[in-house]
Symmetry: C2
Subunit: 270 residues, 2 copies
């Protein structure tokens, strides 16, 4: 690559870091790529770090040692989090969203690439330093959110299914009881999906009773893995006692009244 | 925001563009955000455009007019595409991947955030100028790829399911025949998912007979929508005649021989 000016180098570095979140880059790699001294790269990175911090958009972590370097961890600052939670609460309270049975129509939100990315940044801020090895979810509605969180944490995504398929290879099946409907369901996961002794982050769109999260806990045990956290977009206020102990969420659903068309949902982070 | 140096501005602009691919930003918005003249923003954008083009990592498009501005479209340059196709071909030919029935284990690849992002950039390069309104897929294995393509095209993602759920609201069901196994299956899509007269890009991990793509075509018709393209990671060489006319893919699978443990798969783009 021909010799670049500082502002061109900053552009290249910022793009590479933004598009490979969570990945550790050695300063030597950058210095070779850009054809400049490591000390210049280091100054360029400081500029990027400063601009990120001002915007509350994440951090540049320095990993010391021979295999060290820098990595970018996207986050959602407190202001942006409050704004996201407020706008989603307002959007989800619209009466057209109430479905028969008091369910809320959320598919347009939980499949929207822009909104999903913001929520995933919020999760990343909370779990990037928790030693997560995999992000895990159950098909289908939580997949975009889990995928984007995995991307920001730079960890593999694992998708648990309800039915076994030929393309899974050998798999582990467990039965679990849905927390709210008490229906018995099956979870299937390919044997090749997880390494033993890994730490998992369970991500989903919604938690009511916590039956699915509890199922993941049981499934993880079969793989000798540990669930290090549960992160969902919306948790319900009732039942207060979920089938898992911890649940990290952006919003709390207090209730849906079909007859009056009223939904009460609120941000649950200050 | 306090007054920034040019290289700080470049860092901020590059980050915003990288993290909101496909979104049109008005130069006036940037000028206000950065507290500098539009002409300076314009020069900053030129620096970013230059560095992107040198790297073959995408383009900055200028949209003229009052509601115009600039947007970043991520792409995979020809060299990076060839390298990705080559490395995936090698990885997918490993004999441990062959499953009973001649299937290939691909879950680790198609759920990997880094690989998925690269493939999605390849799809984006091919379809960003085709007037796509939605990216559509069928649960479950194609979802990460479809989600990331939707993110790069800045369009909503739509997920077709096999079973109806309370959280869908009213839905349209169609039956379709799987192209290879001739099994009759159901596709379900919430009525609220698609606006009439939209153009869809179908994204999936794998196409053999094309039965699923054909089902999407029929489903689209019920919503008065049109399928503008089919993009998959791997298509099989046989049957040559698929149930849909066009299939854009990165790799072609020529055959899997269970007894010898040989898989023949190759890049299909020059």
């Amino acid at each position: 690559m021909e010799k670049l000016q500082r502002n061109e180098r900053v552009s290249v570095l910022q793009r590479i870091l933004s598009e490979s979140p969570g990945k550790v880059f050695n300063l030597g790699y950058f210095s070779q790529l850009l054809g400049c001294a490591k000390s210049s790269v280091s100054e360029d990175i400081d500029i990027i770090r400063g601009s990120l911090e001002k915007a509350g958009a994440g951090i540049i972590e320095t990993i010391p040692g021979a295999s060290g370097g820098v990595r970018y961890i996207p986050m959602l600052g407190p202001e942006a989090t409050a704004e996201l939670a407020k706008s989603l609460s307002a959007e989800l309270s619209r009466r057209e969203r109430i479905l028969p049975g008091g369910y809320l129509y959320m598919l347009d939100i939980i499949y929207d690439p822009v909104i999903v990315s913001e929520i995933a940044k919020f999760f990343t801020g909370a779990f990037h330093d928790k030693g997560i090895d995999y992000v895990i979810t159950v098909e289908t509605k939580g997949i975009p959110l889990a995928f984007m969180t995995a991307r920001y944490l730079n960890k593999p995504l694992v998708i648990v299914r309800h039915y076994n398929e030929a393309t899974d290879g050998a798999s582990v099946n467990i039965n679990y009881v849905s927390g709210s409907s008490k229906k018995i369901q099956t979870m299937v996961l390919s044997m090749r999906s997880l390494k033993h002794q890994s730490r998992l982050l369970f991500v989903d769109d919604f938690m009511k009773g916590g039956g699915t999260a509890r199922g993941i806990l049981d499934l993880a045990r079969e793989f000798e893995c540990e669930v290090a956290g549960n992160a969902v977009l919306v948790q319900t206020e009732e039942p207060r006692k979920k089938l898992v102990n911890d649940c990290f969420s952006l919003l709390t659903l207090h209730g849906v009244d079909e007859s009056s068309g009223m939904t009460v949902i609120s941000p649950n982070r200050k």
